[in-house]
Structures are given as structure tokens and as C-alpha cells.
Amino acid sequence: MKTYTNTGSKDTRSGFGAGLTELGKTNENVVALCADLIGSLKMDDFKANHPERFFQVGIAEANMIGLAAGMTIGGKIPFTGTFANFSTGRVYDQIRQSVAYSDKNVKICASHAGLTLGEDGATHQILEDIGLMKMLPGMTVINPCDYNQTKAATIAIAEHRGPVYLRFGRPKVANFTPENQTFEIGKAIHLIEGTDVTILATGHLVWEALEAAKTLSEKGISAEVINIHTIKPLDDEAIIKSVTKTGCIVTAEEHNFLGGLGESVARVLATNKPTPQEFVATKDTFGESGTPKQLMEKYGLNSQAIVKAVETVLKRK
């Protein structure tokens, strides 16, 4: 079984910051906006290097989204930065009308997504953002898994014409994908080939899926692990191909099971190849304060939870 090495844990938001720094040097049309969270979003470098292309909007996210939409008129590529909660739910109608329906080339970059924001608690832990964003026609939704991939995704979305929701997080997590990788929007990445079960994971849960595959291997279960960094457009073909081989699937995400990756996968399977599926996701609940590790354990979003879901789904084959 192929194994992966953590080259040193890093936060995915720093991957975003590094990607933005790179874009600052390579693409003069990239502009950045932030709603009073420059440090949290790791936008400091871009601001320092390109003050004329950086816009501090204050605690006014609705205005930020509108400004970004307007800035595209004249050829700029705006990257907005705030927490995932304030990037989506708070400004849904602004994104819907001024960005998505208006087909504006805005990149909505959202940090501190999900439970792993930790101690701040449920007011800041959005678990509904993937659902909100994937429902908007024309919106691309990306949730990369580690520092290197978040950096690559940040660079890639500048080249993509159209609105994008880029979701990443706060905690330091394993960094295991290649440095300087090319990021292909919508293309699933096979991390481990397997025959008994497909584990389809996104974001922070990808590393957990790799850990789960190790445990399962010790139990004689061959798991195929796929990194779905792009939730929309979904790589239907890769999913169908994998379950054709394995016959069952577990989806894993730091998000509500209503509206998340799992439901998108269920749609693909129901219409193409009905397959037993288990969901590793929060179950229609808000989060709470705690350390990221405690929260992921309590809400069933770690490798142990994935192993358990695999054991359940195998019985349904």
C-alpha cells in the first residue's frame, strides 16, 4: 500500500497566504480584499508587497463582496478573505446576485472553515458553507487538503474564469502532497489504490482517510483513498470508476452531511450506479468550543470514525 509522509504540519490558511504572495508577483490583475482579518488569513505579505492592490474593507463583509464584484469590471481578479462563516452565510445574497448571477470573476477565499476553528465555538464554525456555495449556479467549490495543495489551488483559481469558493482552515495539519504541484480544478486525485472500499475525502479529512487506510490494511481491508479537492464540479467519472471496483463507499468531510460532499456523491451514485454509502460528517448539528482534536473526535470526524464507517458499509455490500 502506498504511504504518505507528513513533511511538517502546517495550516492550510498559510498555504493560501503563500499562494496569494506568489500571485502578487506573477499576476498584476490580482487584487485582494480583507474584512479585518489580515493576520488570520495570512494576507500580510500580499499587503506589504502590493499595498496599491490590497483593500482593507473593515468589518463589512457585504460591502466587500460587492466591491469585489465591481472590481472585476475593468479586468481585476479580486480575492476576498475572511472566515468561512462570514464569507458565505453572512453574505449569501450578495454572492448570489452580484457575483454568481452576474458571473463575476471573484475568488471567495474562506479560512477557519468547520469545527477545527476550535475554541471560538459554533458562531464561527460554519458546517453549511459547502452546501450554500455548491447550490449557486456557476460557482466552483474547492476544499484542498493541506498546505501545499491549498497554495497550488490558490494559484490555479486565478487562471480559472468565473466565481470560485476556496475553503481552508486554521489548524496545523499534516502536509503530505507534493510541493509545487499543479492543481487541476475538478480532477480527483487517487492517493491509494484499493479493492474493498472507496474512501472519498475532502479537506482536513483526507489525511484522516490515509490514516484510516493504514488501520484497515492491518485488518486485511484494502481501501481506495481518493482526494476530492473539488466538490463542484465533481469528478463523477473517478467516483463511478472507483465504486465499480470496490462496491461501497465512505465519504468524509468537515461539514454537515446535509448539503455536503456526501450528498453530491450520493446524487452521482443514485443516478449512475447505486452503491452503499456511509457518511463521515456532522449530523445536522452546530459545533461547540473545544480543541480541534477534541471536536473532531466528539463529532466523529477522525480516522477512527472513518474506520468504523468502512466496517459498517462493508456489511451492506
Partner: protein, 281 residues
């Protein structure tokens, strides 16, 4: 000086277009549209520097954003009569498969429209963003925008108004249509907004008042004055006092025609009060 008689003739024709458009589909918003007819005619014919044809990026020309998208009839009529799309297309207003949606959109690629509007309160932010891109592009042309007065009840406006002054966005002229009416009644009855001029000034804007907002000459004078105040470090607001339903006597001085179409008889009266000047579509 421009030949204002021609502009007045065009305004009369635009009023006919508005009435006929909303009557045909028995829906739409004639009141605010009629109130802003003179403003749109003046803006597109005398005030804005526009390139030929339509390019989304609007580089090297003035750019306009309509925030109160429900007054799409006047917008569509003036865009068509300014050469952005065939005048006959006004026939398709609000019909299925039309580019002339109930509220303006870029989604159907209608030339002249650069942002969707309809859900209120979003246009000020968009206009400011476009203004900042103009500065980044070293494009000295201006951004114009129009907002309803009732629309100022949406909080996003005040985020944007605060941002504009704080960031010295001085290449924008945002016009507020002060007709004092909204769907449920007068703005004072629904949610009194106090002294709007004092509010804009307190937020750091330069304010120009046009008290005769249905008089072409007064509009031209006021907008020239507004233009002269741009580029001085402060955003510019025009308070345009208009009469909702202007030019059709039974639609004036009431909120009743905000979003209601005339019947056959009412249309006939309205058209009689506004004789054909440049030819109906």
C-alpha cells in the same frame, strides 16, 4: 449648450416606452421608472462619456450602475434608444426567453448592463469597486450609479458609504432618487430616514442637490456641478428630488404605481398625455 428640446422629446418617448412595456405584460414598475426618465435621458445623452458599442470592462469610458433594478423599464428604454440593442427588443420585456428580464441582469448578455440588480442595496458597493479598478487602471473616467431612497434602508449601503469616504473614492457620482415613496407608502411612513443630506455629509461625502429632478435643464446643471466636484478626495452624492410617476398625472404623488401596470384605459390616458415624438417601438 445642448438642445434640451431634443432631450425632452426623447423623454416623452421614453415615458411611452415605459407605459407600453409594463402594460403589455401587466407587470413591472412604472412609478420609479417615470420619475427617473429625465435623469436617464440626460445621463446617457449629455453627461456620460461613452464608447461606441458595449464592452463589459468599460475601459476608457464612464460606466453606470443601476442599483434599484426594479426601474428596469426606463433603463431598457434609454439603453435601447442609446444604441445598445435594437429598440424593437423592448417588445420582449419580461417575456420568456428575453434578454430584458424583470430586473436587469448580465446573465442574458444584454449590452449595456454590467451587474445584476433587483435585490436592493448592493449597487453602491459594486460601483465603488468599479471606481477603484478605474483608478488602478489609470482610467480617469467616472462611475455613475443610481439608487432609490427607500433602498437606503438596506444596511449594506452604509457600509459602502463609510468605505467610500474612508478610502477617498472620488471618481464616483452616486445619485439618490429622492421620490419619497416605497412599496408600502411614503418613506416617512415606512421607515423615516431623517436628513439624508446630513447623513451623507456626516459620512464624508460631497452632496449636490437637484431640487427639480424632473427638469432636464436642472439635471444637466446639477450633474455638471457634481462632475466638477469629483477628483477632490471625496465621493460625490447627488440628491435628485423627483416625482414618482412623473408625466402621467394619475400616477404622480403616490406610491400606488410603484409596481403596478396600467390597464387599457389607463394606458390610453397615459399615452395621450405623452404624444409620440421619436416613434414607438
Amino acid at each position: 449648450m445642448p438642445n434640451t428640446q431634443q432631450l425632452k422629446d426623447l423623454t416623452t418617448q421614453v415615458r411611452r416606452d415605459i407605459l407600453r412595456m409594463v402594460h403589455k405584460v401587466n407587470s413591472g414598475h412604472p412609478g420609479g421608472s417615470l420619475g427617473c426618465a429625465e435623469f436617464f435621458v440626460a445621463l446617457y445623452n449629455e453627461i456620460m462619456e461613452r464608447n461606441n458599442g458595449f464592452d463589459m470592462d468599460g475601459i476608457g469610458e464612464d460606466v453606470f450602475f443601476l442599483s434599484n433594478g426594479h426601474i428596469s423599464p426606463v433603463y431598457y428604454s434609454v439603453l435601447a434608444r442609446s444604441g445598445y440593442f435594437p429598440i424593437d427588443e423592448l417588445n420582449t420585456f419580461r417575456l420568456i426567453n428575453s434578454r430584458l428580464q424583470g430586473h436587469p441582469t448580465t446573465h442574458e448578455n444584454l449590452p449595456g448592463v454590467r451587474i445584476a440588480s433587483g435585490s436592493l442595496g448592493q449597487g453602491m458597493s459594486v460601483a465603488l469597486g468599479a471606481a477603484q479598478t478605474k483608478k488602478l487602471n489609470n482610467d480617469s473616467h467616472l462611475i455613475y450609479s443610481l439608487h432609490g431612497d427607500g433602498e437606503l434602508q438596506e444596511g449594506q449601503n452604509w457600509e459602502a458609504i463609510m468605505y467610500a469616504a474612508g478610502n477617498n473614492v472620488d471618481n464616483i457620482i452616486a445619485t439618490i432618487d429622492l421620490n419619497g415613496q416605497q412599496i408600502d407608502g411614503s418613506t416617512d411612513d415606512v421607515l423615516p430616514m431623517g436628513n439624508i443630506k446630513a447623513k451623507f455629509e456626516a459620512f464624508g461625502w460631497t452632496v449636490v442637490e437637484i431640487n427639480e429632478g424632473n427638469d432636464i435643464d436642472a439635471i444637466l446643471k446639477g450633474m455638471v456641478e457634481a462632475k466638477s466636484k469629483t477628483g477632490k478626495g471625496k465621493p460625490v452624492c447627488v440628491l435628485l428630488k423627483t416625482v414618482m410617476g412623473n408625466g402621467v398625472d394619475f400616477m404622480m404623488y403616490t406610491h400606488a404605481w410603484h409596481g403596478k401596470a396600467p390597464n387599457d384605459e389607463q394606458l390610453a390616458i397615459g399615452l395621450k398625455q405623452n404624444p409620440e415624438t421619436l416613434g414607438d417601438y
